[in-house]
Symmetry: C2
């Protein structure tokens, strides 16, 4: 059976203006590869209700899972929860269990649990909370959409709690052959070999080291025996 598929939606003006460099996509990609869920597509959109709704609808319909990052804090530009509720056509309200978690958190910190902080307890009807061990304000799963924070250490902590709930497939394995020749020199033979292994994905990634051109040949797939066989043939060709 084919592995489950996924998409990612990164939400935030700060990524598109160049103020912040996103790191959540790279982390999610590595984690999904490890557990055998294929990340097929990613998008970055601004803090704009209509843009988020459209992207959530398109990506959740096209894949088994959609992971989002960003826009679930207490300020006016944190509009992800409302947009995800609108995309699914369900109501959203301050949810008692999320209110209780946050109330206890701010009580412990001796800080007022004001209107802005209460916004973080707004959760679409029917969602399952995602634990936030860093700063309490929860993420949530609604249908196949997993909504998480944008701050990298919180995103990573939420994802670590979420992934064991999901059913992955065979982990995507990869092997790399490092060749001290340019891409253009090995491309024809490499392409011919790749055509004989339609079940594997083969890519080449050039590098320059001390002025010399080299290429990393990467073979990816879920079947270890096929991977070994292809690597053996690659090594005979170029090793």
């Amino acid at each position: 059976m084919a592995n489950p598929t996924a998409a990612m939606l990164v939400i935030g003006d700060e990524i598109l203006s160049g103020r912040t460099r996103d790191s959540n996509l790279h982390h999610l990609a590595q984690e999904l590869t490890r557990i055998g869920i294929t990340l097929c597509e990613a998008r970055v959109v601004a803090d704009d209700h209509a843009d988020i709704v459209a992207a959530v609808r398109a990506l959740s319909a096209g894949h088994d899972h959609l992971f989002t990052s960003g826009g679930i804090g207490p300020t006016h530009d944190d509009i992800t929860a409302d947009a995800v509720a609108a995309a699914a056509g369900v109501p959203i309200s301050h949810r008692p269990d999320a209110m209780a978690l946050l109330q206890a958190h701010y009580d412990r910190a001796g800080l007022p649990f004001n209107d802005a902080r209460q916004r973080m307890a707004r959760i679409p009807d029917g969602a399952v909370l995602i634990d936030n061990p860093v700063s309490t304000a929860p993420g949530f799963t609604l249908g196949n959409v997993h909504v998480m924070a944008g701050v990298p250490n919180i995103f990573e902590a939420m994802l670590a709690g979420l992934l064991p709930r999901l059913t992955g497939g065979a982990p995507l394995l990869s092997q790399t052959l490092r060749v001290l020749r340019g891409e253009g020199e090995i491309a024809t033979a490499f392409g011919a070999l790749a055509a004989q292994y339609p079940d594997l994905s083969m890519g080449s990634y050039p590098f320059v080291q001390q002025g010399a051109h080299g290429t990393n040949l990467v073979v990816r797939g879920t079947n270890p025996a096929r991977l070994d066989e292809a690597m053996l043939r690659l090594t005979r060709l170029f090793g």
Copy 2:
């Protein structure tokens, strides 16, 4: 007049598998902000013909410019030029001026100008070449689609040559007020101020320093006088 809009399309299995961390989006975002082109959306897709064609069509139709990175090398997984030609419905062939550039490059290097390397001279009909001062193989502009390499130093060099050709708008300016209070404490007043400046974009970005919560309040816009006025009011509120 509103600034021109743009989208970015990052092409490559290696980004979605987590093997490689994309850095071209962040670089492009910073450069476009500097010259007054608004980056509205970015997507990452795999080395898949149908996916690239669909994304190129959607993003080039929705924005003044589309910038792509990746997939223009000599190997079998480099399929961007063909997909961009297909998206526009124009033929693609080995173009004489690109062939001449590459022939001279490989002659100088004493390397054979073989079939794989000749693939890098395949350019859609009607395109304008984008100079590659690093490794010669050109990018190209077809309509409003600017096709560049994925290797970061080549992407950056191509972009540096391309941008002076494009007409930007007023540069997007930004100012930041660093506040040693949590987001939840300042969110209500910050949101109320933001509502009074619909021509500016205001965002808040939390940080933790030595266990204390702080927030960077960022105001962005193209009118320096409005920006100064909003920052003055922000500073009175929270400074």
